[in-house]
Point group: C2
Chain length 335, copies 2
C-alpha cells in the first residue's frame, strides 16, 4: 500500500507538505494542495492510522468490552457507544469478554494495547481491586453496569435493588401473595440485588418468599424454561413470578402455557430489562425498563471527557439510574 513518501515523490513535494494536505493543515498553496490531492487519489493513498496513532499518542477509537453481541441487551449497549463514537469521528473497537474474569481481563488488555483513548467496560467478574488498577492506568475508562465506591464518578449503573422493590410493589398491588422467583445462576451483583430488593419489599409487608420457589438458571430463554419446570415440579402454589430478565421470562411463559397455566390469568409474570422482544411477545411482557442505550451513551460521553485532560470532572458525581415499571399484559390482579 502506498505511503506518504510515494505521494511526495510523485507530486514533487516533501512529505511534510503531504501530511499538511492530508490533515487539512494550514499554509499550503492552492496549486500545491490540488496537485497533492490529485496524486493521492491517483495512486490510491490511504493514510496509515497506526503510524498516526503512534506519533500523536491518540488512536481515536472507543473500546467496548461486553460479554457477547448476540444478547440484544449488550448489542444495545454497544450501539449506544457506537452512536457517540460516530458523533466524534471515532471508531468502535469491540472486545468480547464472555463470562470469566480471565477473559474479561484479556479483553480489556487488548484495548489497552491498542491504546484506546476511551473505554467503556462492562465487567462482572473482574475483582474490584483489579478494576481500580485498570482505572488508574487508563484515565478514559468508565464502568457500566457496576458500581465501585472509590471511583463512583466513573461508574454508570442501575439501581437493581430498587428494581426488585418496584417489582414487588407492583405484584403486591395486584394482590399476589405467593410469588416465585427465577434468578440467574451467575451469582453476580445484578441478580442478587434484584432478589434482595424484591424480598425486602415483600418482608416489609409481612410477606416472605418460600425458598423452594426460588430457582436459578442461565439468563436466557432456555434457562427460563428449565427453571420454570423445576419450580412447577415442587408442586407448591404461587400466582406470580418475578424473573431475572426478559429472555428468561419469555421462556418461563412458554413453559407455563405448555403446562396448562394461562399467563396472566392463572399466573402473572414480570421480567426485567425491557428488551425489544418484550414488546412483541404474547402476552406482551410487563417488565422493568433498563435504559441501557441511554446509559451507554452517557458512559461513552463521560469516558470521552475523562480522557480529555482539559476537562475536569467532579469526582463526587454519581450516575445512578432507576428502572421504570412498564405495565403490559403479563401481569393482572390475582384471580
Amino acid at each position: 500500500m502506498s505511503t506518504i513518501k510515494d505521494v511526495a515523490r510523485v507530486a514533487g513535494v516533501s512529505i511534510a507538505t503531504v501530511s499538511r494536505v492530508a490533515n487539512n493543515g494550514p499554509k499550503v498553496g492552492d496549486k500545491t494542495r490540488t496537485r497533492v490531492l490529485k496524486v493521492m487519489a491517483d495512486i490510491g493513498y490511504t493514510p496509515n492510522a497506526n503510524a498516526r496513532a503512534l506519533v500523536t499518542q491518540k488512536s481515536s477509537t472507543i473500546g467496548v468490552v461486553i460479554p457477547d453481541l448476540t444478547d440484544p441487551f449488550f448489542a444495545s449497549l454497544a450501539n449506544g457507544v457506537d452512536q457517540i463514537a460516530r458523533q466524534h469521528n471515532m471508531q468502535l473497537l469491540l472486545s468480547t469478554g464472555l463470562i470469566s474474569a480471565e477473559s474479561e481481563l484479556q479483553a480489556i488488555n487488548v484495548l489497552i494495547e491498542r491504546r484506546c483513548d476511551v473505554i467503556v467496560l462492562h465487567s462482572k467478574k473482574i475483582a474490584n481491586d483489579d478494576l481500580l488498577k485498570l482505572a488508574d492506568k487508563v484515565p478514559g475508562l468508565v464502568l457500566i453496569d457496576r458500581y465501585i465506591e472509590q471511583i463512583s464518578h466513573r461508574c454508570i449503573w442501575l439501581d437493581n435493588e430498587e428494581g426488585g422493590r418496584i417489582a414487588a410493589r407492583h405484584l403486591m398491588s395486584l394482590e399476589h401473595r405467593d410469588v416465585a422467583c427465577i434468578s440467574s445462576k451467575y451469582q453476580i451483583d445484578d441478580p442478587l440485588m434484584r432478589l434482595q430488593g424484591f424480598s425486602d419489599e415483600l418482608n416489609s409487608a409481612n410477606l416472605t418468599i418460600d425458598d423452594e420457589l426460588i430457582e436459578y438458571g442461565e439468563p436466557n430463554l432456555q434457562g427460563g424454561e428449565i427453571a420454570t419446570q423445576k419450580i412447577l415440579a415442587k408442586g407448591k402454589p404461587f400466582s406470580a413470578i418475578f424473573v431475572y430478565n426478559d429472555a428468561m421470562a419469555i421462556g418461563a411463559i412458554s413453559t407455563l402455557e405448555d403446562n396448562g397455566f394461562k399467563v396472566p390469568s392463572d399466573i402473572s409474570v414480570i421480567g426485567f430489562d425491557d428488551v425489544l422482544l418484550s414488546r412483541y411477545s404474547r402476552p406482551k411482557l410487563t417488565t422493568l425498563h433498563y435504559p441501557i442505550e441511554k446509559m451507554a451513551k452517557k458512559a461513552a460521553f463521560l469516558a470521552l471527557q475523562l480522557s480529555n485532560k482539559n476537562v475536569d470532572i467532579d469526582s463526587s458525581s454519581e450516575y445512578k439510574y432507576i428502572p421504570q415499571l412498564v405495565k403490559r399484559e403479563s401481569t393482572v390482579f390475582k384471580s
Copy 2:
C-alpha cells in the same frame, strides 16, 4: 504509559531483549527472561499494538462493516466473525455503515486506514466498480450478502431468488392462490430477488400477484405494520402474505390481528431470515432460514486465507447458500 525502553532501563538490558521476552522469542537466558518479566509486571508494561503493527505491517484485527448493531440479523453476522477472530487471537474492529453509499465507503475506509488485514464487508449501496477497486486494494476483503461475478470467489451470498421460490411453493402447497407481498422500500438486491423468485414460481403455476397487493416499507416491525395497513385498506381479498423479513412479518401479524384477522386461520404469513424472535413470537413464525452466522464464519475464514499470501485460492469457487424452509405455526392450509 510505560514503554519498552522503561522496561529495558529498569531491568538493565537492551530493548531488543525486552522485545524478545515480550514475544516469547528464542535465545534469551532464563534469568534474564524472569527478570524482565518481573519488571514488566512491576511497572505495568503493556506493549503498544500500534507501534507493533507499524513495524510488522499487520494489525491482527478483523474489520467488519454492517449497517447497525441493533438489528439481530447483523448482530449475528458480527458475532460469527467475532468467533473466528477469537480463534485466531485477533480483534474485531466494527464499522457501522448505515444505509448510504457514502457512509458505507467511509466505514470501509476507516478499516483500511487501520490496516485491517482481514475485512468482512456487508455493503448494499456501494457500486460494483468501487467494490472491485476496494477488493483489488485489500487482498483480505470478502463480501457477504452480495455477489459480484468478477470476484465470485470472494463473495458469500444467499440465493434470495430461490428463497422466494421456496416460499411460493410452500404457500401453493397449502392451496393459497391470492397472495399479498410486503417488501422492503430499499430497492437493493435482496428484496428484488426474493420477490422475483416468488413471482416467477407463482407464474409457472399460472398464478399472478395483484400489483396492488404488493407494498413496501421499512424492513422492521413498524414497517410491517404500516405496509399491512395499506394492503388492508385496498379491500382486496387474499389468504396469505409473503413478507420480506421476520421483523416485518411480526409487525404484519400484529396488525392483522388488531384488524380482526386470525393468523394463520384467516391469513397465513411467511417471513424470511429465521431470527431468534421468530421462534418465540405467537404464533411461531414460518420462515426461511438464513444461515447468517455460519456464512459470517465462512466469510471471516475465507478472508483470513485470502490475506495470507502463502495460501492460494481457487478463484473459480462459489459460496452460495440456499435458504431453508422452517415450518412453524403461521402458515396453514387455506380454509
